[in-house]
């Protein structure tokens, strides 16, 4: 089975810090993969590289069988959509007007929306469960609602691969569960998922594979069982094991995920 996204020895650094050094991994067709790692470890950067928004210093990225570097921006947008953590919008755009923008890669310079574009918008809103919000003003939505609209915007591109940057961030427990269910249903619709995840408890049962990226460890890829091991996570996240006295009331530390 060929991969839908392949990183081959990819290196990337901002002027000061190295983010990726000869990183290699690949997402299988049909996979639902979580990307984990400590804050500032480069999760967002990696997703932006995968979406073609940042160009790596060296190495090769393949989208299907095509090198990302040789694809036009629009061609990439037909295949990959990146749902960012934050989407700030000025003025009182409605949800429908926002989702409409996802069709931009399909429009010609002078052309407007066609029937096909309208269908894609409807389907995107339906998949993301954002249809009831369509006439609401985006800036007046709650965090969970905005997350659904952002996903609908990404889906309007009709991508094969959906990149999600911390989709459960700032959501309460109930909304996190809604979102996990949404990710599952998107996956069952045949959309490949690659999501940066903060909350490791949400990974087992939903994601079939995990990519761990950390400044302190080399990049690793494996099943949730292989990656979510306490010793590996403690090294990657640089946290010391909890002391026995604080263990009972402590917030969840990675060691609790020893599976």
């Amino acid at each position: 089975m060929s991969a839908c996204l392949t990183f081959d020895e990819v290196s990337f650094s901002f002027t000061q810090a190295k983010v990726l050094e000869r990183a290699s991994f690949s997402l299988a067709q049909g996979s639902c993969t979580a990307l984990i790692g400590p804050n500032g470890g480069g999760k967002t950067t990696l997703l932006r590289i995968a979406a073609g928004l940042l160009t790596p210093a060296s190495g090769r990225i393949l989208l299907g069988n095509h090198p990302l570097a040789s694809m036009r921006r629009r061609e990439i947008a037909h295949e990959v959509a990146l749902v960012p953590q934050q989407l700030e919008v000025p003025f009182s755009f409605t949800v429908e007007q926002i989702v409409e923008q996802g069709r931009t890669p399909y429009l010609s310079l002078f052309g407007g929306l066609k029937m096909r574009d309208r269908h894609a918008m409807e389907r995107a809103m339906e998949l993301a469960d954002a249809t009831p919000l369509r006439h609401r003003v985006y800036n007046e939505l709650s965090g969970g609602e905005r997350q659904r609209v952002k996903i609908a915007l990404g889906l309007a591109q009709e991508p094969r691969l959906l990149l999600l940057d911390e989709p459960t961030q700032n959501l309460d427990f109930g909304r996190q569960m809604d979102l996990i269910n949404l990710i599952r249903s998107l996956h069952s619709e045949g959309i490949y998922i690659f999501a940066a995840m903060h909350d490791l408890t949400l990974i087992p049962g939903t994601f079939s594979s995990v990519v761990l990226i950390s400044p302190f460890e080399r990049l690793r890829q494996g099943s949730p069982e292989e990656i979510l091991k306490s010793d590996l996570l403690e090294r990657a996240f640089r946290c010391s094991p909890p002391r026995p006295s604080t263990l009972q009331h402590s917030v969840s530390t990675p060691s609790e995920f020893a599976l």
Binding site: L53, E88, P90, F91, S92, Q97, E140, L153
Partner: protein, 357 residues
Amino acid sequence: MEAEIVRFAAREEAGSSSARLPLGPVIAVLAAALVIAIVLAITCGAVLIPLESVVAFFLHSRPLATDQRTILLDVRLPRIVAAAMVGAALSVAGLLFQGLFRNPLADPYVIGSSGGAVLGASVGMVLLPQVSWMGFSAIALLAFAGSVATIAVVYSLARVGGTTQVVTLLLAGFAVSTMLSYSSYFVEILDRDYGLGLRVLASWLHGSIGVPRWTQVGVVGLLLLIAFPASAVLARRLNTLALGDEYAQQLGVKVESVRIAIIIVGSLFAAVAVSLGGLIGFVGLIVPHLARLVMGPDHLRLLPVTALTGAAFLVLTDTLARTVMAPSELPVGILMALIGGPFFLYLLRRTKRGYGA
């Protein structure tokens, strides 16, 4: 907690502000309003020309009295057409810049075209008072050239490493524009007529349509004929740019090229308006804002509404400017500031929600 309160307040206000009217009827109403404004402007003035004789003149070519004919064809009509074009140009320029800066408080002069226009006009006033080309005085031509040149300078200053930071563009525009406005005083010291030129210049700077020649109207009309379709293409891109530069880039929009195109078209509108009417404030600020309150923020829908509203609004204001204190005439810019200022402050209080209309 505070965010919750803000969000709640926003929801409270949403009922009135996110009202969205259908485009067709709104355009029909605005077109009617523009026609009424033009009719009013034709008949009103120091010499009253009855509407029946104007209609008869145009439809049945029944001759008018010579003085009425001269006033109608050489004074009022060109002025009315100029006012409509200036109003539409300033409003659309305001719309483009507000979209580009993602900020409802941007105006057509926001990236510095006014400063360049002031300096250019002063040079024209003092050094070349007799020169003219196709009906445009040296003041108008140099103001046009000044505003275009200033924008080029501001843009190249704000461009760092292949991209332009929008905030840098704003600040550079402000600094350069202020610098140029004040340096116009050096030119004015050279004025040999000791202040006569200054008065003419001042009236021009306060914004006044004056009576243009038909050639001027034609040249400007031709420029607008290029700029309006261009802004229709840019309007859709502005909707996408509202998602932010990076998202627009992800969607295949060439952000930097679109930005340059918006700056060129917007500045062309502003410079064209400056060449006909001097510096008229507030139109370009208020009209897009008002249109957004009624139509919602979709730039494609806003474009025709903004152009028509701006045209009707300036035709009316200009008619008021030349009639309220007749036979003397008020610069339309002053009237605009008196009407527009308070109205704008009212809008400002209303849109404190942070994302503006």
